[in-house]
Subunit: 151 residues, 2 copies
DNA sequence: AGTGAAATGACCCGAGA
DNA sequence: TCTCGGGTCATTTCACT
C-alpha cells in the first residue's frame, strides 16, 4: 500500500512540512506532478492526518509537563465515556491513554508551574468517578518527537 | 512578548499549519504583510519550533503504543548522558522524560505489535546501566494533541 | 505512473502612511 | 505596525508518453 517513494515523502514531511513539492521532487529524482499526486493521495487516505506548527512550551508559558495517573474505581461504560469526554475537552491535557497496567489512565498535562498543576488537580477532583493515583513531575525532556519510524 | 494577534496566529497554526497567510489575514482582519512578518518573527525567536506532518500510526504499521518505565540504579552523570544519547537515537522512542517519581525515566514507544515491543525490550536490556521497571500497554488513545493552550 | 509546460495563486519585499 | 501593490516562485492542472 505504501511504496518506497511514499515512505520517503512521509519521512521527509514528518520532519519538515514546509518542504516544497519542488524540493521533494529534487530529493527523490522526480518531477513535481507525481509528488503532488502522491501527497494528495496520502492525505485523502488518512495516512497524513494533518500539518501542524510545533511550539516551544517554555516560550508560551507552559514549560512544566506532569504525568497524572488516575484510576476509575467503578468501571462502567458510562463512566468511561463520561471521563474520556471531559479529558478531551481539557486544553491542559495534550495526551491521554487508557492503559493496561497498574493505573487505568495516564494524562500528559502542560502547565506553567506546579501551582497551575495544583489547580488542574482540583479540577480533576471534581470529577467524582476517577481517583488520582499519582503524579510524576518531569525534570527534563530527553526526547520529544512526532516522527514515526516507517519500515 | 506575545500580544493577542500573535497568540491567535499560534493557536491557528498549531491546528493547521497549511493555512495560508491570506486566510490568516482574513480571519484576523489584517492584511498579509503583518501576518507574514509576525510569523517570521515567531519562527526566528524560537516560539515556533517547526512545522511537521502528523501521520496515522496504524496506517503506517505502528499502531501499538507502550510506555516503558526504567530506573537507573547507579545514578552518575556519565550514565545519564550515556543513556539519554542512546534513547535519542532509538527511532521507536518518540518521547522520553526524566521524572521525579517512582521510576527515573518514562519512554513512549511506537511499535507494530507486542512482538515488536519484545524486540525493543531486548535492545534496552543490552544497555547495562538501566533496568526496566515496568511496561504499560496502551489499550486505546483517548486524546493525542500537539496544541498547547496559550493564555 | 511518469514528464513538461502553462495558469493560477501564494509568498515576500518594497514604498508610504 | 499597518496598507497597498508588484515581482517572483510554488502549486496545481492537463495533454502526452
Amino acid at each position: 500500500m505504501l511504496d518506497n517513494v511514499d515512505k520517503q515523502i512521509l519521512g521527509l514531511l514528518q520532519k519538515n512540512a514546509k518542504l516544497t513539492i519542488k524540493e521533494l521532487a529534487e530529493e527523490l529524482n522526480l518531477t513535481t506532478s507525481p509528488i503532488f499526486e502522491r501527497i494528495k493521495r496520502l492525505e485523502k487516505e488518512g495516512v497524513i492526518e494533518g500539518y501542524v506548527a510545533l511550539l516551544n512550551p517554555e516560550r508560551v508559558g507552559k514549560g512544566q509537563v506532569v504525568f497524572c495517573n488516575v484510576s476509575m474505581p467503578i468501571y462502567t461504560k458510562e463512566n468511561i465515556e463520561n471521563f474520556e469526554n471531559i479529558v478531551r475537552s481539557m486544553p491542559q491535557v495534550l495526551e491521554c491513554y487508557h492503559l493496561a497496567g497498574l493505573v487505568d489512565y495516564q494524562l500528559k498535562v502542560y502547565v506553567k508551574d506546579i501551582k497551575e498543576y495544583d489547580d488542574f488537580l482540583k479540577q480533576l477532583a471534581e470529577i467524582q468517578i476517577v481517583k488520582v493515583h499519582s503524579s510524576a513531575v518531569v525534570l527534563h525532556d530527553v526526547k520529544y518527537s512526532t516522527v514515526i519510524q516507517i519500515d
